[in-house]
């Protein structure tokens, strides 16, 4: 019976102290009864292998002990989908910007791509992952009504929103912003050798003429798209593609602006020319340091635009709940 005693001892290890004796005594009695019955059937003592078979059928010590324990979990099945969603968002927030900036450095300044210490990423992930899990474990135990899980009110459900619908308010805000930007940009940055910016004379390189024309073209394209969006408030593949190209062109123009050392000289009232020259060099070098981050933002914007085009392709195949067929007008 050495094997049986060892088995019972192993089960005992996992049991709560208060119930150990009771549970083990009962299990011991059952297993001994099984062995004795088998022995009386065979008319001999059981061999080691036969006792082993009985214990194997009973289950591993941990599995047997677990059945006596109350169900325990850190985050229960009700909160778990929300926990998983938040965790994905948190981890994406940790990883995506870091990877984009790293890509930006890799593309714009490969010599400095080692500047970002990717090993810090692991500690960031562990830090945020730990605190997200801790927060949900506290919610689980405190019974806080997270996202209406405990006290659900159907009236508070969000309205159905078509993923490709463009709200009129966002189109109006975009049109107003574009018009204000265009007026401000033309009044201050109209191409000429010396720009007058709030009392400062900024001498720019000839490349500014090309940059200005490009920025104005992108602004006008975006303004036109926003006007069409206002009249026909659903994204179409054509408009999304135009949006993608205008975003990419805008990002590229900003990239060229930062790299082209566009400021030749500054004339600031009350500031000596030597100091103004130092400031000019500082501004140009500061612009250059922004290049990798601009590339990262440009990649993110292009990725979002491409995702929207892909999503549009998918949604045209899948009917949206609550949306009637033919309810979408597209141009």
């Amino acid at each position: 019976m050495d094997l049986l005693d060892r088995y019972l001892e192993a089960v005992k290890f996992w049991l709560p102290k208060a119930q150990r004796r009771d549970i083990i005594a009962e299990l011991n009695e059952d297993l001994r009864s099984q062995i004795e019955e088998k022995e009386s059937q065979l008319g001999r003592k059981l061999e080691g292998k036969e006792v082993e078979a009985i214990l194997k059928r009973c289950g591993s010590p941990l599995a047997v002990a677990t059945r006596y324990l109350p169900q325990q979990y850190l985050i229960g099945p009700t909160l778990f989908p929300l926990y998983r969603f938040v965790m994905v968002v948190v981890l994406a927030g940790c990883i995506v910007p870091r990877v984009l900036i790293w890509l930006g450095f890799l593309l714009a300044s490969p010599a400095h791509s080692g500047y970002l210490h990717m090993e810090n990423l692991w500690s960031t992930i562990i830090f945020f992952g730990f605190f997200t899990t801790l927060a949900f474990a506290i919610f689980e135990r405190s019974g806080v009504n997270v996202a209406g899980v405990v006290d659900f009110n159907p009236q508070k459900l969000p309205p159905i929103r078509h993923p490709n619908r463009i709200s009129r308010s966002s189109s109006l805000i975009e049109i107003a912003a574009m018009l204000i930007f265009a007026g401000w940009f033309i009044s201050l940055f109209w191409p000429r050798p010396t720009l007058h910016l709030y009392g400062v004379q900024v001498t720019v390189t000839p490349v500014w003429t090309m940059l200005f024309a490009g920025i104005m073209t992108v602004t006008l394209v975006n303004l036109a798209v926003a006007c069409v969006n206002l009249a026909h408030p659903f994204w179409t593949r054509r408009r999304l593609t135009i949006h993608l190209f205008s975003d990419a062109a805008g990002g590229l123009l900003f990239y060229l602006f930062l790299r082209s050392q566009v400021v030749l000289a500054l004339a600031i009232p009350g500031v000596e020319p030597a100091k103004a020259a130092v400031l000019t060099r500082f501004i140009n070098s500061w612009f250059a340091t922004l290049v990798p981050y601009t590339v990262a933002v440009l990649l993110a914007i292009v990725a979002v635009d491409v995702y929207r085009i892909v999503r549009l392709g998918r949604s045209s195949l899948t009917p949206v709940v609550g949306m009637q067929a033919g309810g979408m007008k597209c141009v």
Partner: protein, 112 residues
Amino acid sequence: MPSGTTSSDLFENLRLELRRGCLALAVLSQLRSERYGYTLRKALAEAGMEIDESTLYPLLRRLESQGLLSSEWREEDKRNKRFYRLSPEGKAILKQLVAEWQRINASLEGIL
């Protein structure tokens, strides 16, 4: 069917789910008269309801903690055994469960 799940796995999961609810009823019904664990298992097995020890004993403890069973340790055949029987509350619940089982069974007979 989820990837990695065979139809026999699926059947086994559904069978266990179906059986789980019936076990408590079967155990309660067998404890109208006093029994200890091993003889209870044998009685259930003879009636076609096999149940392994690692399922039965936790179930007995749960039913006892819910006040449906009472138990006592006694010596029999020179061995200490824990004898279980229905408590008065267990008898009342069993009566209701049997009625519910018959209602479900009749409904299923009609559906199937």
